[in-house]
């Protein structure tokens, strides 16, 4: 007896749904399995690749008038505001390593002497809130060029005085709105917002914007990041 084609299709869909339901029922065990985590990580890395491929290095994020600035600008970190690291501006030195031609440490006066610009852009947090602020500093592309960084390398990594670490793709590092910032709201960058410097990227989520930067490195080896290594998407940008 010949089974009608639409019945076979119905059976296939039914079995498919049953398999899906079984997966959901046993969800706790499945999601804890290393193999599943590996698959999810691989999918996230594939997602990074797709986002990188779609990223337009010349498309600018929206900029806002001074009247749109959020006051007060929210503080957000894995510690309290009082615990933001206190850094001595006199002894501070920015360390450079990796694929950089001139790997000497930079003092703050040297960094402040670089050509400065500013932007009023929206900071978007993965937690679901956003706020508009004004940041001032040097274009990161200018800094990378000045220190002889290999701008064909894949990644730029950051180590911070509060122990946080993250990394970004070179295309975003060279984006015209990616700034190494020293000022906020026209004033010296306050401690709670990342003194002495914060990397500001309006094209990426907030957790990709490191504060209290102590060291920068350029590499072709995937450096990950604190939240990224916990499963948050690495590219996290547009």
């Amino acid at each position: 007896m010949k089974i009608p084609q639409n019945l076979e299709r119905r059976l296939f869909l039914k079995q498919g749904l049953s398999l899906g339901a079984l997966t959901l029922l046993s969800g706790c065990d499945v999601t804890n399995a290393d193999a599943v985590q590996q698959v999810l990580s691989a999918m996230s890395r594939w997602n990074d690749g797709a986002q990188g491929w779609l990223f337009n290095p010349t498309k600018l994020a929206r900029e806002y008038p001074e009247s749109a600035i959020t006051k007060p600008f929210p503080f957000n970190a894995f510690y309290t505001k009082e615990e933001a690291p206190q850094i001595d501006p006199q002894s501070y030195r920015l360390e450079l390593s990796g694929l950089i031609g001139e790997r000497r440490a930079w003092s703050l006066p040297e960094l402040y002497a670089l050509p400065q610009t500013s932007q009023i852009t929206r900071h978007i947090c993965v937690e679901g809130w956003s706020a508009i602020g004004k940041w001032g500093g040097v274009r990161f592309s200018t800094f990378l060029e000045r220190v002889g960084a290999d701008r064909t390398a894949k990644f730029v990594g950051f180590r911070c005085a509060d122990d946080y670490y993250t990394s970004i793709d070179m295309a975003t590092a060279l984006h015209p709105q990616t700034l190494l910032t020293f000022r906020f709201g026209g004033e010296l960058l306050p401690v709670e917002y990342g003194f002495p410097m914060k990397l500001r990227m309006p094209t990426k989520l907030g957790f990709k914007n490191p504060k209290h930067i102590a060291a920068i490195f350029v590499t072709n080896m995937y450096p990950g990041g604190y939240w990224e290594d916990q499963g948050y998407n690495w590219f996290s940008g547009s």
Partner: protein
């Protein structure tokens, strides 16, 4: 007496707020997962730096001799 208790409670709250976070205290913020502690970031950073250091030095030597 009630006023004194209220004042002491306020003082205790202020003192508690100013107390630095210990590494074993729960992390602040909404990004954390259950069980994450303040000191986890430092431990992860040290581990990452150990992993990356040697490889990066080799990489840099190959590129900039």
């Amino acid at each position: 007496m009630r006023l004194l208790i209220a004042m002491l409670s306020c003082l205790a709250l202020v003192a508690g707020a100013a107390e630095p976070m210990r590494p074993d205290m729960p992390m602040k913020g909404e990004m954390k997962k259950d069980g994450m502690k303040r000191g986890d970031v430092k431990k992860a950073a040290q581990k990452k730096q150990r992993e990356m250091k040697e490889m990066m030095e080799r990489e840099a030597k190959g590129k900039f001799r």
